[in-house]
């Protein structure tokens, strides 16, 4: 009996070894169940991977991250910068054969902004005239909101104030067009296979919740059928299991867990992509000793960022300024360098005796990377400044609640780009940003960020952003940028043309598999 079982296993093993990976098919790891495929409601990095294959928007980002025409063939901006007119491409059909019209965008934006939809990312369109009031339920008539479809091929958007990055904003999934008739017909189940109608390079064929999504080529895609027949996206949560499945030939594309990166670094399957994602330490400027700007500067100067890549080994890029390298208007010259001498002098100048100072507490959310970083920073401050430092960790949601109610003296956070414009990063620390947990407010900084968002002239915009970054990272220092992160992949040699974007997005439209 035992012999028989072993023989059966062996036979299966042999047949497995002989079988080839299916041609023109790609098997990827999504890691977790996408919380939704409803692009009005999606907010997370998993849902967007699936949605970006199924749908398209008004614009798409080119290799240099500049917005390029997509569903909009071209667009005009009014001289005052407040009105955008998008001219839609002709001959685009949904997967059920219905032609795309401008009203589909109006319907989508109305649903995104409607209070009853409770879309978390409704605020992406808060720059549109009346949108914020409509979302808050203060404006009942959507006709008063600044988005209209005068004819089937024209979409007119009116903004409260000029936003030079608006064409980049409408590349984001929550703004994609929507078929109101189908949402009304199927209710919450409109995104299930069989109900979901899309217009991107792939269509949804199967969704086995918590296990896999299957996408197949859209034969009628307006830009031409994609080379792949099928994408199977599994949801393998455990990174090391996914990597073994990759090594077994059962997956073609996986993320490499941090501990395995070193083992993969020299292999041909390894692919690293620096991201527009920053990792920073924030100071609560209301809590002593960080209410003194000299102390904040001293603590920032005592950090040797060059040590992080060797510590974490995930392709981290040290960064002293906040706009990530690779994003327009980034400036690597800015920010405070590592200078422990000057740091100690500043502490003395502030009248702080390191030996007398109460222990400084760093709080982070429980995670291996965060722990390594916190312990490193602890060592920098202890050895460089002579202060006592404690580190504490918290479960993620407990941590978030603490940040919004009583932020710790020193905390960590990250920020990834939603759209490739510096406004997305610098807006974070304006006095009115919900994401500014530092308690720091500087009207000059706020004004610079607001002016830059309206400034069409590139050179002037660069000057404004440089000035804002100087205030943020050199003068007032409510936060210290540490490094930008990278994505690390293992890609099967049978896959060609896979180019992950700096925003950690994947597009499989041009990918092929032998």
């Amino acid at each position: 009996m035992r012999g028989l079982a072993l023989a059966a296993l062996f036979a299966v093993a042999c047949s497995r070894g002989a079988s080839r990976a299916p041609a023109r098919q790609l098997r990827i790891n999504l890691e977790t169940e996408p919380p939704t495929l409803d692009w009005n409601l999606a907010t997370d990095g998993v849902s967007i991977v699936a949605i970006e294959q199924l749908m398209r928007g008004l614009t798409r980002l080119g290799p240099d991250l500049a917005p390029e025409p997509d569903l909009a063939e071209h667009w005009d901006v009014s001289p005052d910068g407040r009105t955008y007119t998008f001219h839609l491409r002709q001959g685009v059909n949904w997967s059920d054969g219905v032609p795309l019209v401008a009203q589909h965008f109006v319907d989508s934006w109305q649903r995104l902004l409607a209070p009853a939809t409770a879309a978390e990312y409704a605020y992406f369109l808060f720059g549109v005239r009346g949108a914020r009031a409509y979302n808050a339920g203060k404006l009942g008539d959507f006709g008063a909101v600044g988005v209209h479809a005068p004819d089937d091929r024209t979409l007119v958007v009116e903004l409260d104030a000029p936003l030079v990055y608006f064409p980049a904003l409408v590349n984001f999934m929550v703004t994609f067009p929507l078929r109101r008739d189908l949402v009304e017909r199927f209710g919450d189940r409109w995104t299930e296979p069989g109900n979901l109608v899309t217009l991107g390079p792939f269509v949804l064929a199967e969704w086995r919740h918590e296990y896999r999504l299957v996408l197949t080529a859209n034969e009628h895609y307006w830009a031409g059928r994609p080379p792949l027949d099928r994408i199977t996206a599994y949801m393998v949560q455990e990174g090391s299991t996914a990597l073994v499945l990759f090594e077994q030939g059962l997956l073609d594309l996986v993320r490499i867990p941090p501990l395995e990166i070193r083992r993969y670094a020299e292999r041909p399957e390894y692919l690293r992509r620096p991201l527009l994602r920053g990792y920073y330490y924030g100071f609560n400027v209301r809590k002593p000793p960080f209410d003194d700007v000299r102390v904040r500067r001293a603590f920032a100067l005592a950090i040797d960022r060059a040590q992080f890549p060797g510590l974490l080994r995930g392709g981290e890029v040290p960064a002293a300024s906040w706009i990530p390298a690779g994003m327009p208007f980034a400036n690597a010259e800015l920010g405070l360098p590592f200078d422990p001498e000057r740091a100690r002098a500043l502490l003395r100048e502030a009248g702080v005796d390191p030996a007398q100072l109460a222990p400084v507490k760093i709080v982070y959310n429980s995670d291996q990377t965060n722990k390594l970083v916190a312990e490193k920073v602890q060592a920098f401050w202890r050895d460089g400044l002579g202060v006592r430092v404690e580190v504490e960790n918290r479960e993620w949601k407990v941590y978030l609640r603490e940040l919004s109610t009583d932020p710790p003296a020193v905390f960590r956070l990250g920020w990834g780009a939603d759209f490739p414009d510096p406004d997305n990063f610098l807006n974070l620390f304006t006095s009115y940003s919900e994401n500014n947990h530092t308690g720091w407010a500087n009207p000059d900084y706020d004004a610079l960020v607001e002016r830059a968002a309206r400034e069409p002239d590139t050179a002037e915009r660069q000057r404004l952003y440089d000035r804002a970054q100087r205030i943020l990272c050199e003068e007032d220092v409510p936060m210290v940028p540490l490094f930008d992160t990278s994505a690390n992949f293992a890609v099967s040699p049978r896959v060609h043309g896979f180019v992950p974007s700096a925003m950690d997005l994947f597009f499989f439209e041009k990918v092929s598999a032998e």
């Binding site: 299966v12 907010t43 009853a116 978390e120 808060f126 919450d188 296990y211 949801m235 073994v244 479960e395």
Partner: protein, 309 residues
């Protein structure tokens, strides 16, 4: 007997209510809410979310609202998986955990009793020592170690079995064995101890003296009496195995409900936490009842459903 079973099931309802209430309160005292995110949401959007998910009003009002819905059999919407109800999520994931759990349970029953009997019947033999050592290892090794070891050996070194996914019987081998490892080892120890104790009983000696064949002695006289204690363990074990294991499902990418015991809590997906907890509690009630009924069948001295004489 039927009346007794029905009575026990009805008595389970207050148990479930208690479980629901305690879980509801514990969740609400946990800091952090379902919509606390890295990107903080503007206040008007938080209000819209609270309205959509009926998180407005006092805790007492929300509790009454929840119980009313529960009484109607409505477990509510998931906060994390937009547009899906908890019932949908359970409908998709429970069958997978049941399949995997049933396989692991079968392995445990057959393996644990078989090995325990083999060891207990030949106390201090080489077989006994080997089995005892093996079960000691099995009881001590956590499932992530057993699972990782299985993946390394059968997935990477020998390449016999897939390291994960859920595509057919072959894919169930590693997770089912990993899930069964600890309970099998424990059931082996339990059975061995009971068998060893029963082997010394007078009635066993008498049966042997009367010339009853050894295999019949073991089956009829030893095993049946030894199993009573082991059955007590199998009841709750069945509930534990059928509701899935976070570790095993995560390591092997099995789409069962075990993962939600952890992820639903970290997401503060209150309705989903309550849903999986209630399923688990209901299974415990049913499994314990099944064990009590089996008891009566195994040992005629135990009578269910009648008062004391």
């Amino acid at each position: 007997m039927t009346r007794y079973a029905l009575g026990r099931i009805l008595a389970g309802i207050p148990v479930l209510w208690l479980v629901a209430t305690v879980t509801f309160l514990l969740l609400r005292f946990l800091p952090g809410g379902p919509f606390d995110k890295e990107r903080v949401l503007p206040p008007e959007i938080m209000r819209n979310l609270a309205h959509r998910y009926r998180l407005e009003g006092t805790l007492g009002e929300q509790y009454v609202d929840y119980l009313e819905r529960l009484a109607r059999g409505d477990l509510g919407p998931s906060y994390k998986y937009v547009g899906r109800d908890v019932a949908d999520i359970l409908r998709d994931s429970v069958p997978v955990s049941l399949e995997l759990g049933a396989a692991a349970f079968a392995l445990t029953v057959v393996g644990g009793i078989g090995l325990g009997l083999a060891a207990g019947a030949r106390r201090d033999s080489r077989v006994d020592r080997a089995i005892s050592l093996g079960s000691l290892v099995g009881v001590s090794a956590p499932s992530f170690v057993v699972g990782a070891g299985g993946i390394l050996l059968f997935g990477l070194a020998l390449r016999w079995l897939p390291a994960g996914l859920w595509e057919g019987p072959l894919y169930a081998v590693l997770p089912a064995c990993t899930l069964a490892a600890l309970p099998t080892a424990y059931a082996t120890q339990l059975t061995r101890a009971q068998v060893a104790a029963v082997m010394d009983q007078d009635y066993v000696r008498t049966a042997r003296a009367l010339g009853v064949r050894e295999s019949r002695v073991r089956r009829r006289h030893v095993l049946r009496n030894a199993l009573l204690a082991v059955m007590t363990y199998f009841g709750p074990l069945l509930a534990i195995l059928l509701t899935g294991s976070f570790v095993v499902e995560r390591i092997f990418a099995v789409p069962g409900m075990g993962r939600f015991f952890v992820t639903a809590v970290t997401n503060r997906d209150y309705p989903l936490v309550l849903g999986v907890t209630l399923v688990y509690a209901a299974l415990v009630v049913v499994a314990n009842l099944a064990v009590d009924l089996l008891y009566a069948w195994l040992d005629p001295r135990i009578r269910v459903g009648r008062g004391e004489p």
